[in-house]
Subunit: 262 residues, 2 copies
């Protein structure tokens, strides 16, 4: 599989970074992730806009313009020959001289086969638990998933698929996806603060507009527990219902009607 | 400069990791750092004990025993030919198949020239500011320095050298070192919770025992601001006085008597 690093395409086995890179030394890098359907990247402009925002907020200079990145990504997808791929665009703090201060960023773009939510996954739904944690610099899509990866063994023990973070009693997001609830009164609500602005989240809000009453605001853990429906949204998860929360069934353990309408 | 990766010594320019490594993908790795004096690693046993603790807490299996690691480090130091070196021992989440779940860890040990605090640095002291932030999994020496690196431009604007984090009004630590205060009553106090257990911190506490009254407990930001002396401790900083805090002089802007006694 080809990988694009800095200014050239290279074979996957040669896709390496020197250990002085600030991603390896200090976890300092940003990225974005989109997928292709039949070789066409979905919402590429949205993903690149967010990538540029993340890089700018981390004071990392992107070595290409958006049109140049689009050209590189299109060629990478074509070279890969994968119809349904996940594209990861990453920009690191570069080869730091002192292991601490950023240098010239390294750009890495990969394209690999990706599995996204199927109808069977949707029907089965997710089991989620809540956990208190706040990702720092939440508006930036950084590579810091330390807590998320660290929590995996606990999830296995609790027979849960994923975790919903909360901060001071307000829920925020899953480690890699956003969260929505539907209230008993039929309102669609999603957290507004301390989250990453998901592209799928934005599309859902846009689709829901005029069909159902929508609010973007803080949601307490208690309100989450009383929700009629809960679902999560992301590039690979699309819309995926949460059918169990902290061990208790949500909507009798089945995907709800609003979740199904997407 | 030689680098040890997994099971062999390699030249520095060949010291690379594949981009699928979980340090690059998700900032998932632990490390420790010690220095040598005239080619002899200082407090190596303490550093390796903490490294093994960090790896264990992150469920990463260390591929060597402590005696084997000591042998590798000694040989690396010898091959480097550097008298006063910084040794970085890192263990990553490995080459992950799905960019999320840990695989067989990659071990990377580097040995480079390092600059540690001089008498001139000590006399000049540090200018520090306080900032609200809590490192997740604080007892683990992970590679997550996202906030610390991100804050560098703000420090430059404020003409500060470093930052003291606080969490819910209690100070915790600097990004890469511990903090001590001396009260007007002459007590030496250092935070007890939500910190990394520094090796130099431990040595200072041990040295101070019987000479000065010592407390390990929460310190409020207000108490920090009223301290007679503030200093920070780390492997490279050793003991370094803070002579300015949030723009105000500490102890008339000069290193204090207790700081000087180390």
């Amino acid at each position: 599989m080809p990988v694009y690093i800095n200014d050239q395409f290279t074979d996957n086995e040669k896709a390496t970074l020197h250990v002085s890179d600030l991603s390896i030394q200090r976890g300092f890098a940003v990225f974005d992730f989109c997928r292709t359907v039949n070789g066409v990247p979905l919402f590429l402009n949205d993903h690149l806009e967010r990538f540029l925002h993340s890089a700018h907020a981390m004071r990392l200079q992107v070595p290409y313009t958006k049109p140049q990145l689009i050209d590189i990504i299109r060629e990478l997808v074509q070279r890969s020959g994968i119809a349904d791929a996940g594209i990861r665009i990453m920009l690191t703090g570069g080869y730091s001289a002192d292991s601490y201060h950023p240098a010239k960023p390294n750009l890495v773009i990969t394209c690999n086969a990706v599995r996204s939510t199927t109808q069977a996954d949707f029907d089965k739904g997710l089991s989620a638990i809540t956990y208190e944690y706040q990702r720092e610099l939440a508006h930036i899509k950084s590579i810091n998933y330390l807590m998320a990866v660290w929590l995996q063994p606990m999830l296995r023990v609790q027979q849960a698929d994923d975790v919903i973070y909360f901060n001071k009693q307000s829920i925020t997001e899953f480690p890699r996806s956003n969260v929505f609830i539907v209230t008993a009164a039929g309102k669609l609500i999603t957290p507004a603060h301390n989250i990453l602005q998901g592209i799928t989240r934005k599309k859902i809000l846009s689709l829901a507009d005029g069909i159902i009453e929508v609010e973007e605001r803080d949601i307490s853990v208690e309100e989450l527990q009383q929700a009629s429906e809960i679902f999560t949204t992301s590039t690979t998860k699309k819309v995926l219902p949460v059918v169990k929360l902290n061990g208790k069934a949500v909507n009798d353990g089945r995907p709800g009607n609003i979740s199904k309408r997407q």
